[in-house]
Symmetry: C2
Subunit: 461 residues, 2 copies
C-alpha cells in the first residue's frame, strides 16, 4: 500500500478510524484464532456510510484490495487479510437507528451486535428471531454478508428471509440505497439479494432493515431420546404437525456428542437415566403452557418413537436443557479440531453419518467425533479431533466428510459460508454453470476484483 | 422473424410445439384481456429443458427477442408480445417430478399449475402454502418469475421464501441447474435469487424445488368489524401475539368494497347487522378448534378495538367468510377499472388512503373506489372505476395513487410486478443506484437484450 493512499485513508477516517500493523496483529480474524491471519499494514474503521464510500472510492482508484470485517466470529477464513490488503471494519457503525413497532421493522447499522438488536426489539415487545451462539459478538452486517442461520431456521428462516432492505457500498464507492421497509415489494429486481450471503465480495453492507416478530408469549422446551434415527425423523413430522406452526427448534445430538456435553468436566447433567443413540432438544415459541408440547411427545411415545422424554417445567429447567445444546465450548477441550457444517436431504442422513463416522474411525481409531445439528433444516455439524491439524490430516478428513455429499445433493456449507477454507470444495455442491454465474456477478459488480479477493470463488481464468 | 429461424424452431419443438399467428391471436396475454396484445407471428411450446435451451440458443444467434409465457394471469402487461417477438410458453412442461415427504420438498416443472401442486402436496399430508385467486391457471414458473404473494404472506412469506432451488435457461441457452433441495445452503452466491421476481428478463425458469409444510390440523376463520383504522392496527398486533405463530391471513376491507361484495347482485351476505368502516378477515392455520381465535377476539373486544366479530363454526361458515374476501369478481361489473397493488408502511396507511380516496372523489365524483388488502404485509389494493379507461384518465389516476408513495417509502408494486405498465413509476420506489444495478444485471446476464425486452426496465442509455 503506497504512502499516498495511506494518507488519503487517514484523512477520510481520521486518527481514531485508522489502525496500523501493530494494533491489527493483536486481533483475531475469526473464532478459530489461528496466529498470523491478519497481516495487513492498515485497518480503517469508518464512522459513516459516506466514509465507507470515500474509502472504497480511493481504494478503487488505487486498485487496493480490501477485506471487510464484521464481528469476526466466522469459521471459514473469510476475514483473513494478507500484507497487501486493507482491512475495512464496520465496528464504529454500531447504531440502531429505529425500531418501528407498527410495521414491526428495525433499521440498524452494520456494526450493531446481534444481541443488541435482539434486546432493543425485546424492549418494544417484539423479537428479532435470528439467534446463534456468537450473538454477543457477531454483527448485523456480518449476519447479512454470511446469511446467518442458527437454531430457529425451521420456523423463521435464515437472515435472508429477515432482511427487508439494505444499504451497501459497491467496490467503486457507489452507495446503493435499497432500504426497503416493506414485506412485499415487487418493484423490479430485488437487488439486495446480491449482498446477502456473498461474504463481502460484491459490496460492503452498511445498513439493514429487518423484519421483527411479536415477542412470543411463552417458550416451551423438551428433551427427547430415541433409539432409532427413523424415530427421530418421524418425531419431527409428528411434533411439527401437532404444534401447528409453533415449532421453533429441533436440535439433534448423536450419543458421542451428548455424552461429551453431559459428563464432567461439562457441567450439564442428562435428565435421562440411561444412554441413547439420539437426543433431541425441541422448542416451541408462542405457547403459554407446556401442554401442547407435552401432548405431542406423549403421542410420539405412544407411537413407539421415543425411549424417553422430559418437558421443562420452569425457566431454570428450560435454560438447563438449552445449556446441553449450547455447550459446544466442550469441544475446545479436544483441540486441535476440525469443524464441519454440512447439509443434506434428511432421507440420506442416516447412511451418510454412519459412513463418515466409520471411515473416520477406521483411519483415526478412538478419535472423538461429535455429530449434532439442526435436523429439520438438513444441517449437521461434525467436530472431529484426530489429534493433529496439519494440512495432510485436514485434507484427508475433508475428503471423508465432503466427497459423499456430491452424490446425495448435499452442501459443504449449510450456514458458515465458503471463505477461503471451503473454496476448493464448492464444485461438489454447485454446478459449473452456477459457479460461472457467480463469476459473472463478481465481474459485473467488482470488475477490478478489490473486494475480499480470493474469497468464495477464484476470478475467471 | 426470418424463415430460417422459423424452420429451425419448428425442428426443435416439433409441430405440436409450434403455433402461428392465427392461433396466437386467440389467446389473451393476461387477466386484463385487452385486445391485440399478442401480435407475435410464432409461439413455441418446448416440452423439455433441452428444447428451451435449443430455442434460446437459436434465438440468441439470430438476436431474436423472446417473450416468456406462464399461466397468463398477470396484471401488469408483462406478457404482451409485439409482431417481431417470439413467444416461448412453458405450458407443456407441466409435470410434478417429485414430492419428498421426508425432506418436505416438491420438484415441479415450470408449467405446473399452482393448484395442481397444492393438491399433490395435500395428498401426501403436506401443504404448499402459496395461495392466490388465480391458483387454477397460474403456474409455478410464473409464480417464481413474478415472486407471487397472495393471502398468506404474513405467515409463510412470498414465493421467494418457498423456492429452494431452480433450473433456469439463460438468454444464450446455457442451462443453469441450481436445483438445491436444502433449506440451508450457503455454498457461494445464491444465484437462483436472480431469477425470482425478475419477470423473465434474466432467464427462463424451467423447474423449481419448493419447500412444503405440514398440512395444518385445522383452519379457523373470523370476521371482525372496527370503527377506527387504529383499532384494526392494534387488532393485528393483539391477534398475532395471541395466536403465537398461527395467524395466516389478516385481510382488511374498507366499507365501500365490503358493501360491493355483500350486497346483491353479489351472493355473499354480511354477518353483521350494521355497516362498519373496516372489516377484517382473520385466519389461523394449525388450531384444531376455534377457542384461541375466539379468545383473542374477545380480548380485543374487551379492549374496545372491535365493533363486532363472528367466528366461523363450520367449514361452510369458513368458506362463506372467505367467499366475501375472494369475490373480487364483483369488480368486473364496474368495468372499465384500474387496479392497483401498492405497499406502504402501516403507520402511513390511514392518511395515505384518505388522501388518495378524497383526490379521486374530487376529480371523479361518485366513481366507485374499492380498497382492500393484506394489511399485515402493508399491501393494499385499490380498484377504481372512473367510467373511462383512456390513457389520459389512466395517467391522472396513476398520479393520484402513485405519487404520494415516494415520500412515505411505499412501492408501486407489492406483488403484481412492473411489466410494461408500471415501468414509468419504478423511479418512485427504487433509487437511481438500484435501477443502475438492475441494468448492470440485465447486461451481465442478457447482453443482447433478447429476453422480455422493454419489460421491467429499459436498457442502459
Amino acid at each position: 500500500m503506497n504512502q499516498a493512499l495511506r494518507d488519503e485513508l487517514r484523512k477520510i477516517v481520521g486518527e481514531t478510524g485508522y489502525l496500523a500493523a501493530a494494533a491489527i496483529a493483536e486481533r483475531r480474524a475469526d473464532m478459530l484464532g489461528r496466529p498470523g491471519e491478519l497481516r495487513s499494514e492498515a485497518l480503517v474503521r469508518p464512522a459513516s456510510t459516506a466514509e465507507v464510500s470515500a474509502v472504497l472510492r480511493a481504494c478503487h482508484a488505487a486498485r487496493q484490495p480490501v477485506v471487510v470485517h464484521g464481528g469476526l466470529t466466522g469459521l471459514v477464513r473469510g476475514t483473513d487479510a494478507g500484507p497487501g490488503e486493507l482491512i475495512l471494519s464496520l465496528e464504529r457503525m454500531d447504531r440502531i437507528e429505529e425500531i418501528d413497532p407498527v410495521s414491526r421493522t428495525a433499521t440498524a447499522q452494520a456494526g450493531v451486535k446481534l444481541q443488541a438488536l435482539q434486546e432493543a426489539a425485546g424492549e418494544k415487545g417484539l423479537m428479532f428471531p435470528l439467534d446463534l451462539g456468537a450473538r454477543g459478538t457477531a454483527t448485523i452486517g456480518g449476519n447479512v454478508a454470511t446469511n446467518a442461520g442458527g437454531n430457529r431456521v425451521v420456523r423463521y428462516g435464515m437472515m435472508r428471509e429477515m432482511v427487508l432492505g439494505l444499504e451497501a457500498v459497491l467496490a467503486d464507492g457507489t452507495v446503493v440505497s435499497a432500504l426497503n421497509r416493506l414485506i412485499k415489494n415487487n418493484a423490479g429486481y430485488d437487488v439486495k439479494q446480491l449482498f446477502v450471503g456473498s461474504e463481502g465480495t460484491l459490496g460492503v453492507v452498511t445498513r439493514a432493515v429487518v423484519r421483527l416478530r411479536e415477542r412470543p408469549r411463552g417458550q416451551q422446551v423438551a428433551l427427547a431420546a430415541s433409539e432409532r434415527f427413523q424415530g427421530v425423523v418421524a418425531l419431527l413430522r409428528q411434533v411439527d404437525q401437532a404444534l401447528g406452526g409453533r415449532l421453533s427448534a429441533f436440535e439433534v445430538m448423536w450419543r458421542e456428542h451428548y455424552e461429551l456435553v453431559t459428563r464432567p468436566p461439562a457441567t450439564s447433567v442428562s435428565p435421562f437415566a440411561g444412554a441413547h443413540p439420539y437426543c433431541v432438544l425441541i422448542e416451541s415459541q408462542g405457547d403459554a403452557d407446556a401442554a401442547p408440547l407435552a401432548g405431542a411427545l406423549e403421542a410420539a411415545q405412544g407411537a413407539g418413537l421415543l425411549a424417553d422424554a422430559v418437558v421443562a417445567r420452569s425457566q431454570a429447567e428450560r435454560n438447563a436443557l438449552w445449556g446441553i445444546r449450547d455447550d459446544v465450548g466442550q469441544l475446545r477441550r479436544l483441540a486441535p479440531i476440525f469443524a464441519f457444517d454440512v447439509s443434506l436431504p434428511i432421507a440420506a442422513m442416516e447412511p451418510y453419518v454412519a459412513g463418515v463416522r466409520s471411515r473416520l474411525a477406521a483411519k483415526w481409531p478412538g478419535a472423538h467425533c461429535s455429530t449434532f445439528g439442526h435436523l429439520a433444516d438438513g444441517n449437521l455439524h461434525f467436530v472431529f479431533a484426530p489429534g493433529s491439524a496439519d494440512e495432510e490430516t485436514r485434507r484427508a478428513v475433508e475428503e471423508i466428510v465432503y466427497l459423499p455429499l456430491e452424490a446425495i445433493g448435499g452442501s459443504v456449507s449449510a450456514e458458515h459460508g465458503i471463505g477461503l477454507e471451503k473454496k476448493r470444495w464448492l464444485r461438489l455442491c454447485r454446478t459449473p454453470e452456477e459457479i460461472a454465474l457467480m463469476r459473472a456477478l463478481k465481474s459485473a459488480l467488482d470488475p477490478l476484483g478489490i473486494l475480499n479477493p480470493g474469497k468464495v470463488i477464484d476470478p475467471a481464468a
